[in-house]
Symmetry: C2
Subunit: 262 residues, 2 copies
DNA sequence: CAGTGGTCTAGACCACGCT
DNA sequence: GCGTGGTCTAGACCACTGG
């Protein structure tokens, strides 16, 4: 083992792997290893620090866990680079409605993205399915009832950024523009067009690790946490008419609410 | 290697460690290994499955990463149990204010916890420090200026649940109840008492992995993502008078916003 | 084809928990 | 003092990437 790694080994409660990770992290944060740049290979680090490959792998594992680097078998490790997008799921100014209002429909997101000088796009498809229990509970549909599912994958500059799946009771959606697949824009919003303008909504935000399916759809690097944003929308009669489940990778988003009391 | 582990090794793209993790996970999800129960020791699993200890450690590492189990050196692995707490950082009904209003002060949280039949408590201390840049930017204080920091660790049933650190410009806080350490309750709220009632706020929510310090203060199991909730509060003059940074472990919370348009 | 990360084996020593 | 998890070593084979 290299002497510089050995010296502090006894006095501190830090492992060799920790200290190698610290050095690599310092190089990344100082800009010496810029975003996109390749790191030394595992076997090079073995030679540099005179330690075992398992130890080097543990060091790199720490940085992968922190989301600083990614690995690709056959190629190597490189520094990650992701720009944060500000997402405004609900913005209210002075009791008036501004950006993503209950009425505004789905282009509020596209407008937000464009306002940040980036290019939005969406993959949309529509199907009829049995909803997960979380959704059935919130839509108050009987057990086993089918609902309309409008699946969206939202991209920014061609990179997947969000999964936004909307669930509607069949009587609300059928025969309305909601059933139209593709990235369509309806003035006034989908819900108003369906005769159920949204008057109130309730947002729940959970923080968790992604499922395998989400990792695949969003092309997530390992160990990136996601937000699960569940919006239940209600019509004038107080009936829940839509549930939107949005999966928001933590490395690409900042969620913003603006609220005013007068 | 045990034959049952070897059989599927070639046909599927799953590792031995994956399959041992799958078996352990199935036992946890079926309730065969209930919350709080101990898992077999690493060396027992080595004997059971006839594989190397490193492989067993990788299996257990998968479950630790998923947040299903915790490890304790000298003792063993056990199944985790954590109840979710609903947190309402901003709840507005019919344009009126309900729970945590800009005016209501810090006991809104305690009230929410109590409403869920659980017992809140807080550790509070106050100091004067140079704020992190994220806070200085939002308070619009000159570089290097000192601010008042009110540090809170919020506990539920004696278990750490949130870190809530509030930052105030010195002229706003000094000579007011804000400077009082300990878990005090001020009717009408701290900000109103200081002569700066909050009229508007802006919430930013980021999702990330915790820092080492947060892991320690919140006693987090490995690989638990957190939400970083930053609230900037403004007074009538539109001046930012408070920044609250709340660290919310994902395994203990669901964040809820309720918004109404009429 | 040479090099890379991913996985696995078979040992070892340490600090810490429990009893 | 025995068993536990935490760390480290020194090998090995595989699938994949890239020139």
């Amino acid at each position: 083992m290299a002497p510089d790694l050995m010296e502090t080994h006894v006095e501190r409660r830090t492992t060799i792997a920790d200290r190698i990770a610290d050095m690599l992290r310092a190089d990344i944060e100082s800009g010496k290893t810029p975003p996109g740049a390749a790191l030394p290979s595992e076997r090079e680090l073995v030679a540099i620090h005179n330690v075992n490959r398992g130890t080097v792998r543990r060091s790199l594992g720490i940085l992968v866990t922190e989301g600083l680097i990614t690995s690709q078998a056959g190629s190597g490790y490189c520094v990650r680079a992701n720009k944060l997008l500000d997402w405004y799921p609900g913005t209210f100014e002075h009791l008036g409605l501004r950006r993503d209002t209950p009425e505004a429909g789905s282009d509020a997101w596209a407008a937000d993205v464009a306002a940040q000088d980036r290019t939005p796009s969406q993959d949309v498809d529509v199907s009829i399915e049995t909803p997960p229990r979380l959704v059935a509970d919130r839509l108050q549909t009987p057990d086993g009832d089918l609902v309309v599912l409008r699946r969206r994958l939202r991209l920014v500059d061609g990179v997947p950024y969000q999964i936004a799946d909307s669930y509607y009771p069949r009587d609300v959606a059928e025969g309305t523009p909601i059933m139209t697949p593709g990235d369509t824009t309806i003035p006034g919003g989908l819900m108003a067009a369906a005769g159920h303008p949204q008057i109130r909504f309730r947002d729940e935000i959970g923080i968790r690790m992604p499922t395998h399916g989400e990792v695949y759809r969003l092309d997530l690097p390992a160990v990136t946490p996601v937000g699960e944003h569940v919006r239940v929308g209600y019509n004038r009669a107080g009936r829940p008419v839509r549930v939107i489940v949005t999966i928001v990778p933590g490395d690409r988003h900042r969620i913003i609410y603006e609220v005013s009391a007068e």
